[in-house]
């Protein structure tokens, strides 16, 4: 599958660097957002985000791997406090994916429920102090 990495977490470019590899968020064939994680070629350990070294075997040959776009909501919270930059209230949660990884993410606020099916999307989650939107990946509830 062709992966278009023009949709990156650093966009817009003047926003504060986010501590994920530049291609952690990409666009698939149909324009859909994709999360790109890593897989260790030595031991098969998967990770998100992709780090330069394997937490299981210390191997450094980590290849990119497209993550499932859907998962199950393990838990969440609607948060009313925290650093100024986040739009308030904001929802945070852990989404369990079929590749056995758990991803921490902002969530779209509607209809959150533990165990519900979630799908990857992209949204503005905050603003830098100069007003620059912070665009990031989010998960939203979908029909199972």
């Amino acid at each position: 599958m062709a992966i278009d990495t023009s949709l990156t977490l650093q966009a817009p470019p003047e926003s504060t660097p986010i501590l994920l590899p530049g291609d952690a968020l990409a666009k698939g064939d149909r324009g859909e957002p994709l999360l790109i994680g890593g897989r260790c070629t030595s031991c098969g350990e998967r990770m998100f985000p992709r780090h330069p070294v394997c937490p299981s075997c210390m191997g450094e040959d980590i290849v990119s791997e497209t993550m499932p776009r859907r998962g199950t909501l393990y838990s969440y919270s609607v948060v009313h406090v925290g650093p100024k930059k986040w739009n308030k209230p904001f929802a945070l949660g852990y989404v369990d994916l079929a590749n056995s990884l758990r991803v921490f993410s902002h969530l779209l606020l509607a209809d959150l429920e533990i165990g519900s099916a979630m799908e990857l999307d992209v949204a503005e989650v905050g603003r830098e102090s100069d007003g620059t939107p912070i665009v990031s990946f989010v998960f939203k509830r979908v029909e199972a």
């Binding site: 986010i18 998967r46 937490p55 393990y74 919270s77 009313h80 406090v81 925290g82 533990i114």
Partner: protein, 379 residues
Amino acid sequence: MRGVSVVGVGMIPFGKYTEKTLADLGWPAVKAAIADAGIEPRRIEAAYCGTALGGMMAGQRILGRIGLTGIPVANIENACSSSSTALRQGVMAIRSGEYDVVLVIGVEKLTKFGGGTLPLEEEDWEVSQGLVMPALYAMRARRYMHEFGLTSAQLAKVSVKNRSHGALNPDAQMRTPVSSEEVLASRLIADPFTLLQCCPTGDGAAAIILCAASIAKEFRSEAIRIRASDLTSGKYVSGFRDMTVPEITVRGAREAYEEAGLGPEDVDVAEVHDAFTIAELLYYEAFGFCAHGDAGAFLESGATSLGGSIVVNPSGGLLAKGHPIGATGAAQAVEIVRQLRGEAGARQVEGARVGLTHATGGGISGFDHGACSIHIFSR
């Protein structure tokens, strides 16, 4: 291995001291501990100072104020476990035979950050994506409620209990009792938590004098022995994790009980890390005070309130006594020593013989918690 005793404890009341420096928070606690031990200050051979956000050379800044200088000083950062880690370093130094008498300090000034949620390490990717400590604990709470039917009213009762204990503690930051209704009606922080289910922001300091058990009688007739001194770190996991089981504390508790040759049935009083209401409930289970899933009912039985069979957080805990993070572990030890000496006044746990302290924290991605330090004391 040499035994280690606590012969002196001191702390300042936790609160907001915006006009004071870290050094001026710390020295009164040290001076109080020295007076409590009745020790000649120059007998102190080394100092271990825990602070998470206090900056460089916190121990030297404090000890400089009172001229206790020229001795080895180690400053220790381990998030909420900073001063319990410092305590463990002191214990190990005496056990090794290197020193006979050491000083342990815990100190923090959080008001310098101006309030709001604790500033976390921005290089952590979950933090960069919005994680704040109340949200992390809130997700644990919501999952626990989902799996075990714990109610918001039961969660609120943790605050009610600890605020009622804190009302009896002159060193507590929050000294007024609250009702369940008030807890639930306070403003939302990170659902299901309202403001009164979150520990307050504040400043504080606590200090402990340790010595080899063989010389403790020189200083105090009723020296308290340290039966276990445990430190562990979280295990990195990139996939699924059961957030209703605080793995790091379960492991640490097992290690501490084994070291002490004691079990949960032996513990009379415990100071555990109730940064948010759900935490105290998870730790009842981690320490084996009740079975997994039963913590809400165990709380409601009154077992952990003053007068109960295993009193948890008689000081008011982090929720009422306050949580100047680097000072917390040392202050927990101060409370347990006072309880075991019978000096805890209106909040005294009658006949307490064995007590434990538990400080854990460090919100970083991939870990349950970064650090956990547990101590078991007996008289």
